[in-house]
Symmetry: C2
Subunit: 360 residues, 2 copies
Amino acid sequence: MQNQNNFALIMAGGIGTRLWPVSRKHFPKQFHDVLGVGETLLQLSYNRLLDVCPEENIYIISNEDYYGLIKEQLPAMTDDQILLEPQLRNTAPCVAYAVHKIAQKNPEANLIVSPADHLILKQDNFKSVAIQAFEEASKKDVLITFGINPTRPDTGYGYIEYDQAHGESGVYKVAAFKEKPDLTTAKEFLEAGNYVWNSGIFVWSVSSIIKSFEKYLPEVNQLFSQGSQVYYTEGEKAYIQRTYEACINISIDYGILEKADNVYVIPADFGWTDLGTWKSIDSQHEKDKHGNSLQGTVLTYDTKESFIKVPKDQIAVVQGLENYIVIYDGNALMVCQKDQEQMVKKFLGDIKEKGHNEFV
Amino acid sequence: MQNQNNFALIMAGGIGTRLWPVSRKHFPKQFHDVLGVGETLLQLSYNRLLDVCPEENIYIISNEDYYGLIKEQLPAMTDDQILLEPQLRNTAPCVAYAVHKIAQKNPEANLIVSPADHLILKQDNFKSVAIQAFEEASKKDVLITFGINPTRPDTGYGYIEYDQAHGESGVYKVAAFKEKPDLTTAKEFLEAGNYVWNSGIFVWSVSSIIKSFEKYLPEVNQLFSQGSQVYYTEGEKAYIQRTYEACINISIDYGILEKADNVYVIPADFGWTDLGTWKSIDSQHEKDKHGNSLQGTVLTYDTKESFIKVPKDQIAVVQGLENYIVIYDGNALMVCQKDQEQMVKKFLGDIKEKGHNEFV
């Protein structure tokens, strides 16, 4: 039987703009079966967490627009487990809301916080790291982050530097959080050996994280602690509406983790990728002999190293492309060079500017 | 009032494979508004012919599969005017069927035969050439073809060589029909000055063409002349079914025009193009400042000299292409270099071979 104090919070409020045109404002990537494995990223996240905490202790926080999608994809979840944000306020308010609500149910709770849109291939490794982290968090006043041992000098991830001299059983004190580096810096990080990718997965007791909120983000903390009268009641929705309007927009990393002195990291390897870009999704796919990743019915001619994706009932015939991304979905087609895929954000901005909101 | 002896035959049986994925077996190009002008190619053809003969004298011949499309697009046409072929047998049987059926209604008929899927921009010029041709055909035992004065050494068209010494009022005796030439030959044709493109539009009296059938394709002629008992009756369909099965597959050009010695051409300029390929359609479109033809909502980045087409309610975002054709329609996407567009036939062959008939 699983530890009744173990809780999970799935953060599923992102829009996943970099995965346009599959990820849309009304249907973001976490609700898609991005990899074509038969489960959406949200369902994969949920099922992964069922391994480390009881079903009724799994909470999800997302934008209120996605309530229907959540109910459809996770029908076992009750409305009490689904926290709805009226607007985007980054991760600190989101965590504050969830920990105060969970603390009211169980002040002894230990909480794992995980984004919905990441991929973890080695479930066993994840499970053992999570269990170890829950144990640490239940015994000590620590904030634990999951670090991924880097396999390449990736410039798309944030890094965590840890102190190799201060650690035991694979849990190390964090020395610093590092923004996405340039390639030279990323190579230095890789060489140094004590840098890991920041997975955005955290474990802490609700008491420890509330203590940190009190210290580093007292106003945010106050806004959500005042809600203890209304959580799990009909008044919750209106209260959250007002609270989010009043609340600042700030990330948990910047607001707390970079400032606190009790932050630890468990460097791990559980086959993690954030699936944040088409390139990262491409890297998860099997390639044909020309290095192409093909999803849907795709015929290629004189085409190499390309990622081509159409829905199941559609066909793509592609001739003469090398290192391209070609994606059709719903009502939109994107053709883009792989090394220009950061332009997706610009594409979306331009589409909005031209008033074509039906394509966003 | 129009001459009651003037008849027209629209040939609309082709599949237009080179315009895949817009042109499909169940919905070929002549039934599409390929240029986005508000009328399909068939409707444009029909309306053009209304200028030169009475409405009730316009006939159409097409595959029986397209009966529904014809009725929908040309609701004024009666079933007697719609000739349905049970199978593809090229243009000679198609003309034989129509002239025998029309001759039964009016043995004095003069007939203009025109493909449904060509574009003519200068309707006035077309009209005066057609009227002149009708007059010639009604007075003399001649087979008249419409030649297009070539504006470039096009290798995609057949040519007609004419005898400049034998002609009056712009009607010249044909010296020879020439298959699609290579570029060197095409340049020689252009320089010579007495070569025109074969538009596939013909004018003749039914008596003259029947005489030619008797001489050059007597078996084909016999098959269709025997039908005079059943045309315009319930027996026509079954009769045509049997007749087409027995009939050879041969073009009117090869079977008659290349052999007959009473073939004339009227060199003309009426803004004609056969719209047979994406490149030819591209050439009809206005270009943006980067030389792109864009149909539908299309955003381009670092993209030049490309033809990009999506349906009205869809968007395409294309980055980093030069000299490409990008077309999405229905359930199929095609990306192809412009100078490789002849591969469309191979694409279709491969799609069929793989059993994906839903995309053909």
